[in-house]
Symmetry: C2
Subunit: 343 residues, 2 copies
């Protein structure tokens, strides 16, 4: 055993840590790098204790040069303070940490060139992989290709040629929510969200109505915000063909709709029922509690990290199934907090 002088000025080396912990220098390295070989938990604890006592600080930069890994993934999202992305970010971090990786999460919204700039700035930091949640466009795909870094696209709804992508099945999720409102007897079901034929939630809403022989209800465009949903809710209320139920394409929009209905002194769900989309924690505590479509956040996060780590890259596109969470805003007289996948 070497005696430890707490006043020593020489920095502790890996050999010192190995000696103190009574293991080989390689085991110290496996512990610090979380691999490539497995280290038994008790041994790992001994090494970490030695690192702590000796104040050892491996030089990550030197390590990076040697093993070619920074053990870091970059993540690009449009808005990390949006509850959906806050949840997704946390789930990604959990999945990454399990594998010894940390995340650099950056926000880039707006024009595709901004997002492309974000991708390049992550590449400058030599991340080992990137997860990009953005609407696909040429500048973004070029930036990904340029970097040469393995990338998985998140929140996609169609396959992108040659690029690995993951997404929630927005189309089926929306259709299931609308079928549930139809099951409640509604025949005038409005839509709040993005317009345009490309939107999968709008398509799901429309196709569910058509399949049931119900006329296409009124639509109000809204961005993905509470404010957007609020304005759209007010607009739907003011219409002659006011709907008796509203499907909103995000929980934030649905919360805005609820506010517009409360202010209009509309009974929810008696006069107008509401269903949201996302399954965010706050949807459970709206009044009334929001029936919504839960996105498979944890599953998507795990798959995203697994695919960055897989020995062989696959450019497959995977769709994850959503779950209808039935609460009260749809008209179901469920007890508080219970939710089950009813029709």
């Amino acid at each position: 055993m070497t005696s430890i002088d707490p006043l020593q000025t020489r920095r502790a080396t890996r050999a010192d840590v190995a000696r103190y912990a009574g293991v080989s220098s390689a085991v110290v390295s496996y512990t610090v790098n979380s691999g490539p070989r497995h280290v038994a938990p008790a041994t790992r604890a001994r090494v970490l204790e030695a690192i702590r006592v000796l104040g050892y600080r491996p030089n990550a930069a030197a390590r990076t040069l040697k093993v070619g890994l920074t053990k870091m993934f970059g993540v690009i999202v449009p808005d990390s303070s949006n509850p959906f992305f806050a949840q997704l970010g946390h789930a990604l971090e959990d999945a990454a940490a399990t594998n010894g990786y940390a995340l650099i999460m950056v926000n880039f919204d707006g024009p595709p060139d901004d997002v492309a700039g974000g991708i390049r700035s992550l590449a400058l930091r030599q991340v080992d992989g990137m997860l990009v949640s953005a609407q696909v466009s040429l500048p973004i795909l070029s930036a990904i290709a340029e970097t040469g870094i393995r990338t998985v696209l998140l929140n996609q709804f169609v396959a992108v040629d040659g690029i690995p992508a993951i997404g929630p099945d927005l189309y089926q999720g929306a259709a299931e929510a609308v079928r549930h409102l139809i099951w409640h007897g509604h025949t005038r079901i409005g839509y709040v969200g993005e317009l345009g034929p490309g939107d999968q939630r709008q398509r799901g809403w429309r196709d569910a109505l058509v399949a049931a022989g119900i006329p296409i209800g009124p639509m109000e465009p809204a961005g993905y915000s509470r404010e957007g949903g609020y304005a759209a809710g007010q607009a739907l209320l003011a219409r002659d063909d006011r709907p008796t139920a509203i499907f909103a394409s995000s929980d934030m929009q649905a919360l805005g709709v609820l506010r517009a209905l409360h202010e209009g002194e509309i009974n929810i769900p008696g006069e107008i029922a509401v269903v949201g989309f996302d399954g965010s924690p706050e949807s459970e505590y709206s009044w009334p509690a929001l029936t919504t479509v839960r996105q498979p956040v944890t599953d998507m996060a795990r798959e995203a990290i697994d695919r960055l780590l897989a020995p062989v890259e696959s450019s497959e596109f995977t769709l994850h199934t959503t779950t209808l969470i039935v609460r009260q805003s749809c008209g179901c007289g469920m007890p508080p907090f219970a939710g089950s996948p009813l029709p």
Copy 2:
């Protein structure tokens, strides 16, 4: 001019970028490293364009060894999906990005040893600075001291000897909220939150009552969650000395209280008024809209980053003033969305 062959296999060098952009090699370096010298925006744009065209990728690891900077800060929070921390994280990223830094944000909750482990794992990644939001304890302070990395504590409410710290003025914020309820005529004002003399919000609540000569209202303990607030709200409703107003120490708790009151068919604010704390975006869209105390998230985030970057470290403790946001749940008949710092 060098001609650019898109099929070249040799990787572009800094010299190539300099030649293509018509600048010196040093200017390329200043652009990539965001310093140490300033680069005019037009020149910077030219260099970035050259980097893009040539697919140049500076070796961050080599750069790190040379300049001793990874341009990265580490952030530890208890739960990045909590709306308050999601907002704080976004604000920190904005402030860091302005200075050319990226953030590694990690979640560590629970025992102090876990948080200390998180601090050590950030140190292994050679971050240039750390921001730690955790309840101060010996393992955490030791871990910070061991790493030798400049660290600022976030969300603190008392000075910690020798460690730079920033926090919101929870005491004054809570007292102001309770004074507002007293101004509305309430004399039985309950408290939902952490109990114990150390809690600044509880102290603010209590001292405001004492100062007004009002008896200390009922207290219900609750963790920082919607579920915790819900249970506490139900408990307050069941008491003989049911309060006519409730101060909750977070917005999430206040939303849980609102739900308990709605389910109990209590008129809000007619029978029971509610005030929250945080100023999270979702508080604005509760029903009724929540009167709350806004935490100075952006100011605290800016100061945290500025202090990590300051030439000289200061171990000062700064308290940031909160703002009362008056909406409807307190009994003010404000039009929707208006908020002003009334008494």
